[in-house]
């Protein structure tokens, strides 16, 4: 029986964890089998949940987020017969570990391009949640994409805050959106968990475009969300569950090539995406896969060539 450990945001965060939940649900619905899950409440529970599930015989144990890296490095060796899967971590060393990273900067690059093309004002916005490197990583790819389309474009970037409340403050998200609109932004990209709900809402209310993140959020405001930067956590989780205890270990990076990240195209945003946009995005995607375009990751040296944080 597989087990799934959600990160502190909770399984209904409308983005990262929810994507995992969707993947697991899809697997459960298809196979009719069940799985164990827990939403973490505190840091100390990370290790606790790992051990409890391992001892109860769950296999594989799928965990979410970089916060699990540290506990996994101590727990995984204690249960050599259990397979662990971790999303968003790529730097550990253990034989029974499947590490899945996503090239968020690549996906963000593509939505950045779309934002720049959709923008009439020449200013696009980025609203992050808590100011942590991962979110800067998103913002950095986005800015590079936007600048690739329009080198003169103005990218306004804001973080919601410095406490975990930053993930759940839609009011602040909303105000930031208004602030960015007043600075001229007419497309905003929200990478801010629950706060993003406020961003998308305000963008829709104020008549500008927004870009969702992680899951496909186009349906939240049909015709008003330009696209969503998909991070196929659901696929990663689904695949792992499907493979069961046979799941392959090692480090896997899911970029554009592996369809681990992407842009969401559906009926809800069909009218917003021009022919030109989709072809440009398609071309860029291919170029990135082929190595013709290199998108710089914020992690490389903790800074971004296209954006100052």
């Amino acid at each position: 029986e597989p087990a799934l450990i959600f990160d502190l945001g909770g399984k209904f965060d409308k983005s990262f964890n929810e994507a995992a939940f969707n993947g697991a649900k899809r697997w459960a619905d298809q196979t009719g089998k069940s799985y164990r899950e827990i939403e973490l409440q505190s840091e100390a529970q990370r290790e606790q949940a790992l051990r409890r599930f391992a001892e109860a015989g769950a296999n594989p144990i799928i965990t979410m987020g970089f916060g699990m890296a540290d506990p996994l490095s101590t727990v995984a060796p204690d249960y050599p017969d259990t397979k662990f899967v971790v999303i968003d971590v790529t730097w550990l060393d253990a034989p029974n570990l499947r590490q899945v990273g996503f090239a968020e900067h690549e996906g963000s690059y593509l939505v950045g391009m779309m934002a720049a093309m959709a923008s009439k004002s020449g200013t696009v916005g980025f609203i992050g949640g808590m100011d942590v490197p991962l979110i800067r990583h998103f913002g950095c790819g986005y800015a590079q994409g936007a600048k690739a389309v329009n080198p003169d474009i103005n990218v306004v970037a804001n973080m919601t805050g410095t406490t975990p409340a930053a993930w759940n403050d839609p009011v602040k998200g909303s105000e930031l959106t208004k602030a960015q609109i007043s600075q001229g932004a007419d497309v905003v990209y929200a990478a801010a968990g629950g706060t993003g709900v406020g961003v998308l809402q305000t963008a829709a209310d104020e008549g500008i475009l927004s870009i969702g993140v992680d899951s496909n959020q186009n349906h939240l405001h049909p015709g008003k969300v330009l696209t969503s930067m998909l991070k196929r956590v659901d696929v990663a989780v689904y695949d792992a569950m499907k493979a069961g205890d046979e799941v392959e270990t090692g480090v896997f990076t899911m970029g554009l090539a592996q369809e681990g990240v992407g842009v969401a195209m559906d009926d809800n945003n069909a009218e917003l995406v021009t022919e030109e946009m989709s072809s440009a995005v398609d071309k860029a995607r291919q170029d990135i896969i082929d190595g013709n375009i290199s998108v710089v990751s914020y992690y490389e040296n903790d800074s971004c060539p296209a954006l100052q944080f």
Binding site: N168, D169, E175, V197, G198
Partner: protein
């Protein structure tokens, strides 16, 4: 000119951010003026935010939502009253408990009601409070100075914003010009004086706590159905505590409360609008801007406000015989 436009926008944002603070602050004012300390403002707002959004989502009527929000906040007020008035319990503990209760209950109920992870469905149409445009707002928006002030700053807020600001003179009037206000202030200063004057201390205090509940209810509904289009867990994000700070800052006076809330709103609006200020090469980290409203609050408090003396009987249950 561009500076002026920015200024208007910052002030506009200030008003939106100050409104929930102001409502909660006035709510606290009624309660604490009557001698019942209330650190449960946060919880009441949160509860109201949830129930207003939930009912608005289900019925499609924001007014029913507002009523539901007020009712839920009132229920928590009743609990606070029961604990601190009837059973003479510790008011701080009761407030802490109410905050926890709201944080847990909202998500729990939301989850078993909507199965959307402690969230309500998004509100649209009649489920939300929409901005009210003043007459001729469109027409005079181009007039310099006056135009933007009238049509952008003053016009275009939800009705709850205007209610919040109207509550300030109303509260002042009630407090200082009516019989009820006199008794309310007296019961917070010396309940025995009120009792021996033949007025029910318990009745007055429950009335105050109830008004507090209503105002917190409006504040919560404003967050979930006017500023936002739905409830998200913990969406009050500490505003109840900031309102409490504003109340102490204002020394429990209505006009000053408005000033304090506007100031807090302004500081937040400024911090939101001016992140990453670049001072000739030295970039001020975003964290500094994030903390700026709080730092400035401390500075102002230390520099200009002086000692705030709460209502004398505040926090103490009225006990005639032990």
């Amino acid at each position: 000119m561009e500076f002026f436009v920015t200024l208007i926008q910052v002030f506009d944002s200030t008003i939106r951010l100050a409104t929930p603070l102001l409502l909660a602050c006035l709510a606290g004012l009624y309660s604490e003026r009557a001698g019942i300390f209330d650190i449960g403002l946060e919880g009441k707002m949160l509860m109201a935010a949830f129930f207003s959004a939930a009912v608005a989502a289900v019925t499609g009527s924001v007014w029913l939502g507002l009523l539901a929000g007020i009712a839920s906040s009132l229920a928590l007020s009743g609990l606070h009253g029961l604990a601190s008035i009837t059973f003479r319990g510790n008011q701080l503990i009761s407030g802490v408990a109410i905050n926890f209760l709201a944080a847990g209950m909202t998500v729990l109920v939301a989850q078993s009601w909507f199965q959307q992870g402690g969230r309500t469905p998004s509100l649209f149409g009649g489920g939300r409070f929409t901005p009210i445009e003043f007459p001729f707002a469109e027409a005079i928006s181009t007039v310099p100075i006056i135009g933007p002030i009238y049509s952008e700053l003053l016009s275009g807020h939800s009705i709850l914003v205007y209610i919040a600001f109207l509550m300030v003179p109303l509260t002042w009037w009630v407090l200082y010009r009516t019989r009820f206000g006199l008794r309310l202030r007296a019961v917070g200063e010396n309940p025995a004086a009120v009792d021996t004057a033949g007025v029910s201390v318990v009745g007055l205090r429950y009335a105050a706590v109830a008004i507090c509940g209503v105002l917190c209810g409006i504040a919560g509904a404003y967050l979930a159905t006017a500023l936002q289009a739905g409830f998200v867990k913990e969406m009050t994000a500490g505003r109840g505590f900031i309102a409490l700070a504003a109340l102490i800052f204002a020394k429990w006076r209505p006009w000053h409360a408005m000033g304090a809330c506007l100031l807090f709103g302004l500081l937040q609006a400024v911090a939101l609008r001016f992140q990453n200020i670049d001072l000739g090469g030295v970039v001020i980290p975003v964290q500094v801007m994030d903390a700026l409203p709080y730092i400035l609050t401390v500075v102002i408090l230390a520099g200009f406000v002086g000692k705030a003396i709460p209502p004398r009987a505040g926090g103490e249950p009225y006990v005639k015989e032990r």
